[in-house]
Amino acid sequence: MLSRRTRSRPRLLGLAIAAGCLGAAALVSTIVASDHQDTALVELNPRRDINDVYAFPASSAGRVVLAVTTQSPLTPAATSNALFDVNVLYQIKIDNSGDGVEDLVYQVTFRHRDGDEQQLVEVRGPVAPAKTGTVNTLVNIAPAVSGPINTVLGSASGLQVFAGPRADPFFIDLERFFRIIPDRRPATGPLSRLPEAPSASSFRNPGVNFLDGINAMAIVLEMPKSFLGAGAGGAVGVWATTSIAGESR
């Protein structure tokens, strides 16, 4: 067992690195920032950021869509080279028993094809997780769907998958929002330079959609609604997480 002193060193090192990263990012950042980046950690690691979660009926009867966006704000110039993080476990979690604990998960991971730079997506699920809560493992089963990103994969009657760049569907007058509630503004980018104290008490007319012209990396899953495991007429709770290696509990 590690002593408290030994265990504290990586934390102090991590804090020092994080502080350095903050300073470096503040100096070099040119990317616009948005409300999506809700902490410095995900702001500096945008591939770990979950921007939005959606759940809605598909265009075909009896099917549903679960979608997650990440990495916004991506400028069009940055989008052409955008990739998912191969070290991040992206998950969409489903509670169909009403206790706030995931009963089923979709686990989405990425890797590079041997011999080239093509990024591949692998989707496992729906499957009961090996571990629930905030420390998870990748289930040890073959992917239900896999293939290149930016491609429609899978079956239109089973699990269908798309992972790649899309226009960010969210819309908000973000600058005005941060002028009203400046506490929520990001740590980097032009919006970080808005006044620390409230500088507006109302929205404006016309409003300005800050996300017009901005892209995100999207993970879109379509499936028969039976895949959600809800009881007849029942509800499911849906949320998304990102996780990184680093905890042994």
Partner: protein, 196 residues
């Protein structure tokens, strides 16, 4: 090597190490090492959590976002007092704060996007399960104006007239006057519009 040269060298090494540390997951372009990937048998620690829009990003103070991101629905009820404080901080009544936090935190089960997949698809929309009890499918569509709905729920007479600051979906605070997504979603898979 002179002392000043050593210092410069050390500074450069430090800068390179710092850049490497900062680069973890943050780079936009270029391939990652093919040897790195998510693997079975490894524990993965949650660093981000999102369900209902606006709950954590708006009603929870930013200094608590990291704690929220490492939470889970079943544990997110601990943030209900913060959400209520945000609402009452604008002079809105405690009864409204109680009602909204009950809806957003699903009666204590926690922050989840509640979705009834068997209900009429035309009733799908953020919080429609609460606004049309027994009918609304809930979930969240790509076109849902969650900002205006959230602002209206908190600041207008829509749910509680006491101390309302604006009419539903009207200025000064119940709309941001941005009502549509920049690119209309497609009607078929993958639904989200192509990138700019």
């Amino acid at each position: 090597m002179s002392r000043s040269t050593s210092r410069v060298t050390l500074a450069l090494i430090g800068a390179v190490l710092l850049a490497a540390a900062c680069n973890d997951g943050a780079k936009i372009g270029g391939p990652d090492s093919p040897s790195l990937r998510v693997t079975p048998g490894t524990n993965y620690r949650q660093v981000e959590f999102l369900a209902n829009p606006l709950v954590s990003e708006v009603t929870v103070f930013k200094q608590q976002h990291q704690a929220y991101n490492t939470s889970m629905p079943y544990a997110s009820a601990q943030f209900i007092p913060v959400t209520q404080q945000f609402i009452t901080g604008f002079g809105r009544p405690q009864a409204l704060a109680d009602l909204l936090s009950t809806v957003l935190y699903n009666g204590g089960h926690g922050d989840m996007l509640l979705f009834y997949p068997d209900r009429d698809p035309t009733t799908t929309g953020w919080l429609s399960w609460a606004l049309q009890p027994g009918v609304g499918a809930g979930g969240r569509k790509l076109t849902d104006d969650v900002v205006d709905l959230g602002l209206t729920a908190i600041f207008s007479s829509f749910l509680n007239p006491t101390g309302a600051l604006c009419q539903p979906f009207q200025l000064p605070l119940c709309t941001d006057n941005v009502n549509t997504t920049a690119r209309a979603p497609a009607g078929t898979f993958p639904y989200l519009a192509g990138p700019f």
